[in-house]
């Protein structure tokens, strides 16, 4: 039966490798409450081809806040910013870095 090569040629159920179905590379923007009215914004999952250090520098200047880069064991490098900068960060990621809006997820209240 293996002589019938025709049947093997194409598997319709094979993974086509469409980027749309891959849910892995989301960028998560979260907020965390600190003491008092203070909050912390974390940006997780920025693709590695971007230079986080330079991004952070620009973000700090633009939003007039402090921030730093935290290295996490599983999640890679995460940007932390002081205050609620979620919407501003998303805008920046879309406008300046040209990322897709559907790949960015904003969490928190």
């Amino acid at each position: 039966m293996s002589s019938i090569e025709n049947l093997k040629s194409f598997d319709p159920f094979a993974d086509t490798g469409d980027a749309e179905t891959q849910p892995t590379n989301y960028i998560h923007i979260r907020i965390q409450q600190r003491n008092g009215r203070k909050t912390l914004t974390t940006v997780q999952g920025v693709p590695e081809e971007y230079d986080l250090k330079r991004i952070l520098k620009v973000l700090k200047k633009d939003f007039a806040c402090n921030g730093n880069i935290v290295k996490d064991d599983d999640l890679g490098e995460v940007i932390q910013l002081q205050g609620d900068q979620r919407l501003k960060v998303m805008e920046f990621l879309i406008q300046q870095l040209g990322l897709q809006k559907k790949n960015i997820k904003i969490h928190g209240f």
Partner: protein, 277 residues
Amino acid sequence: MSEDLGFDPSLKKKKKVKGKTDAEGATTPSEENLEEMFSSLKKKKKKTKETDTPEPVDELVDGLEGLKLKKKKKKSTKSSEADDFDKQLEKAGIHADDQSSASTEQLQQSQTQDSLSNSVLAYENLLSRFYSILKEKNPELAGGQHSKLKIPPPEVAREGNKKTMFANVQTIASVLQRNPEHLIQYLFAELGTSGSIDGEKRLIIKGRFQAKNIESVLRRYIQEYVICKTCKSMNTELKRESTNRLHFIVCRACGSTKSVSSIKTGFQAHVGRRKRV
């Protein structure tokens, strides 16, 4: 429009009924007598009925269409009462036509009248009858509007200085047909905090949150984990496949299944006092 609809069929029916009575009269006098007897009987029945229930309906109809010409017509029919049965038949026909858009009770009355008089088995009447019955038996099929699930607004109160109490998690979870644990896990992951459940099954969340914050998170939870993606129904079930450890939304309305991502807490920044090294 409505006047036209009201007038034309009634006229036709008049003719029909008259023709019928003529034919019956031509056959035999005894039958005619019988007919008259029956008609009187029916009339009496009808009258008693009408005095019992449909009078207010008539008044309502009159009130509704007080500005139209029909009122005059009806009044005249009421006042004269010459060939009562025929006219009542006619009336019934008119009623059925008029009330096609009215409430179901009225419709049913008109239908009983219809069943008494077979001559008004018109398509429109049958159609309206069908829809009224359908509305009664299963309203989801009849109307475009779904019976929307009523989700009670979250009762959120501050407990102490740094904690928030979310009183009705359990009821909301039961309305959404979800495990409260799952909902609480999502809330904690989204709000980036932790908390506990107190003795009265209320949720205590660390941190200060307002009702609108919780509400927006709840809305996102419903979007992601409750609403069926294919038919937008809220009547769904969350099932966990033990073989591949995936969660699936199973819709009870359309039967579709869709996998949903598990809840991930993500990165948690260290907040508070640092550890002494």
